[in-house]
């Protein structure tokens, strides 16, 4: 079981292309590693609930204007933390059941999750300072 989980985790890691192999110096590749799109319920279980690192979950939608502003803003700040926090993106139309389960009303809704529990949350757009404070609180700094 543990072996299968480990294998699953290995397979779910983003592919390592030539850019990534040059180390963590490049911001974008670190960003790519810190942010991922949730594929399904069991993916959420593995990479968010069972994550050893705290995870910021960004519930968003294609039709949501503010989401298109918040997403990249949050991604950028998460990337700066170089792996201390991960970011999971959930499209609420693709994963309605998940969004309903976590009581997502308006979007964007962002949850801060640690050890499978929701420890913080905000709805709507936030500026960089507010996001930095949110992330700082999550890391426990």
């Amino acid at each position: 079981m543990a072996q299968r989980l480990a294998l699953q985790r290995l397979l779910s890691l983003p592919t390592r292309g030539p850019l990534a192999s040059h180390g963590r110096a490049l911001g974008t590749s670190a960003g790519r590693r810190s942010t991922f799109n949730v594929q399904d319920g069991s993916d959420f279980q593995d990479r968010v609930l069972n994550s050893s690192k705290p995870v910021v979950v960004d519930f968003h939608a294609q039709w949501c204007g503010p989401c298109k502003i918040l997403g990249p803003r949050l991604e950028k700040l998460v990337a700066k933390l170089e792996g201390q926090v991960l970011m999971a993106k959930v499209d609420i139309d693709d994963h309605t059941d998940l969004a309903i389960e976590y009581e997502v009303g308006a979007v964007p809704t962002v949850l801060a999750m640690k050890n499978g529990d929701v420890v913080d949350k905000f709805v709507g757009i936030k500026d960089e300072d507010q996001l930095e404070a949110f992330l700082k609180k999550l890391i426990g700094a």
């Binding site: 139309d93 009581e103 009303g105």
Partner: protein, 493 residues
């Protein structure tokens, strides 16, 4: 009882959702089944029904887009420096409208969740009066049993099957609002308000649009009759003067696809007794709506439908021929096909079923508006219906042609800006109906609907002081009768 739910609602549109949420508010166990059969062209949409997805909402937004185009043209006269001609990009408008509609789909989903209403995205059909089964998109069978069942599946646009190529090459309103690319040169056919509203905004955003009509425009909002002749011709006259082409007394015989992907439409001109043809990018059918009952399996449980229309027959309490099975909204026979009507009927039904209420839905004096470029709002009886009911000697029709103040500086033609009030002639002169053509007709008529509901009279209307300067104030000043034969043009200040 042994049934799983107190209430099952089949159809997640205006009527269905209102009924379900109201029932859940009484602490009942409620479920909603909603399913959208893709249109012949493959268009589909989310929770919320016709109004939200392919009706009122996208229609009004696109109507607004067209009005803004006119406003931009007017703006020069008011001092704005806007380079003419202005251009419109369909895909930008469509994207904004479609995004908003999708946010409403989500909103409805959240509301059901918050009210603890169980949601099934399945197409249900009756297996017995308390059991509905259906298949999910994945093919899994679900069975739902309920003490009470409300059918609110609404309707879908009809296709003129006698026209060759109609189904393969034509679209309907189901598809128009979801087009990602401009429909281009469009032929909406034929005459119902859907056709006029769509033709109106398509022309307004700059598209070459032709409306083909077999007989008269606005052939009854909800019933086949010539109830709105005068108002309908004013509305279409306005559209004509603004660039919509009308092919009157014509009916299509075939639609063919050309190598260029354009559509070749052939039609008969009844007046000239000739056959004519032209090519279009898009042909849109607006020949009426058919009730969505095909897959419900109504015969199995014995729910009676009208043999002509196919709609479900209900009594004043929305009950069908089968105990514990009810119906609300567009699916029901003899009711105005309007969102607020379905919502009110759905809510009242839930209140009667679970809330100890006995209040029935009042279907009289329902106000409504056609959102053509020059809007037509009305409440109460049409002139024709009043004459039929009371006799022309017993009614008085007050009318006026007016000019909205905003049109003056903009040098806009107000020829069709018109209103009329139909009253009883005897005793207190009760107002039977009010009809208004002009900007913001819906906003104008809404308040007067309360007055009519309360039995307002002509003297009371004359005692009501107008708000100045508005178009609506002209209603309070109506004094020229049709009977007098006097010129009905009124001037402002």
């Amino acid at each position: 009882g042994k049934n799983e739910y107190d209430l099952l609602v089949i159809g997640g549109g205006s009527g269905g959702l209102a009924c379900a949420k109201e029932a859940a508010g009484f602490g009942r166990k409620v479920a909603v089944m909603d399913y959208v059969e893709p249109s012949p062209q493959g268009t589909t949409w989310g929770l919320g029904g016709t109004c939200v997805n392919v009706g009122c909402i996208p229609k009004k937004l696109m109507h607004q887009a067209a009005l803004l185009g006119s406003a931009l043209k007017d703006a020069q006269h008011y001092g704005w420096n806007i380079s003419q001609p202005v251009h419109h990009t369909w895909s930008v408008m469509a994207q904004s409208v479609q995004n908003y509609v999708k946010s409403l789909n989500w909103g409805h989903r959240v509301q059901l969740q918050e009210k603890k209403v169980k949601y099934f995205n399945i197409r249900g059909s009756f297996s017995d009066p308390h059991t509905v089964r259906g298949l999910t998109k994945a093919g899994k069978e679900t069975v739902v049993t309920a003490d009470n069942i409300v059918i609110a599946t609404g309707g879908r646009p009809k296709y003129p099957m006698q026209v060759a190529g109609a189904l393969e090459y034509g679209i309907t309103s189901d598809d128009l609002f979801w087009l990602k690319e401009s429909p281009g040169k469009t032929l909406p056919s034929f005459i119902l308000y859907v056709s006029l509203e769509c033709a109106g905004f398509l022309t307004g955003i700059g598209l070459d649009t032709t409306v083909m009509m077999r007989s008269v425009p606005l052939r009854g909002f909800d019933q086949a009759s010539t109830k709105y002749l005068q108002m309908a011709s004013l509305v279409t006259e306005h559209m004509e003067s603004y660039g919509t082409k009308f092919l009157k007394r014509c009916f299509p015989t075939k639609v063919e696809k050309l190598k260029s992907n354009r559509l070749q439409v052939t039609w008969k001109n009844a007046d000239l007794d000739t056959e004519e043809t032209d090519s279009f990018n898009t042909v849109m059918w607006a020949v009426g709506r058919a009730p969505d009952t095909k897959t419900l399996n109504l015969e199995t449980v014995g729910v009676k439908t009208n043999s002509d229309t196919g709609k479900i027959i209900v009594d004043a309490s929305e009950a069908t021929s089968v105990p514990h099975i009810y119906a609300v909204g567009d699916i029901t026979e003899g009711r105005p096909e309007l969102t607020p009507v379905a919502i009110a009927a759905g809510k009242l039904l839930a209140q009667r079923l679970f809330g100890q209420s006995s209040e029935l839905m009042d279907y009289d004096n329902v106000p409504t508006t056609v959102f053509t470029p020059l809007e037509y709002g009305c409440v109460g009886l049409s002139e024709e219906a009043a004459v039929q009911r009371h006799g022309s000697d017993n009614i008085e029709v007050y009318h006026a042609y007016y000019k909205p103040l905003e049109f003056t500086v903009a040098e806009r033609d107000a020829t069709q800006c018109y209103m009329k009030m139909v009253c009883l002639r005897e005793r207190e002169q009760r107002i039977l109906g009010l009809h208004f053509i002009g900007p913001n007709a819906g906003e104008v008529i809404q308040g007067f609907a309360l007055g009519i509901k309360c039995g307002a009279t002509y003297p009371q209307m004359m005692q009501t002081v107008g708000i100045h300067p508005t178009c609506a104030e002209e209603v309070t000043k109506l004094h020229i009768t049709k009977r007098s034969g006097l010129d009905a043009t009124v001037t402002g200040c």
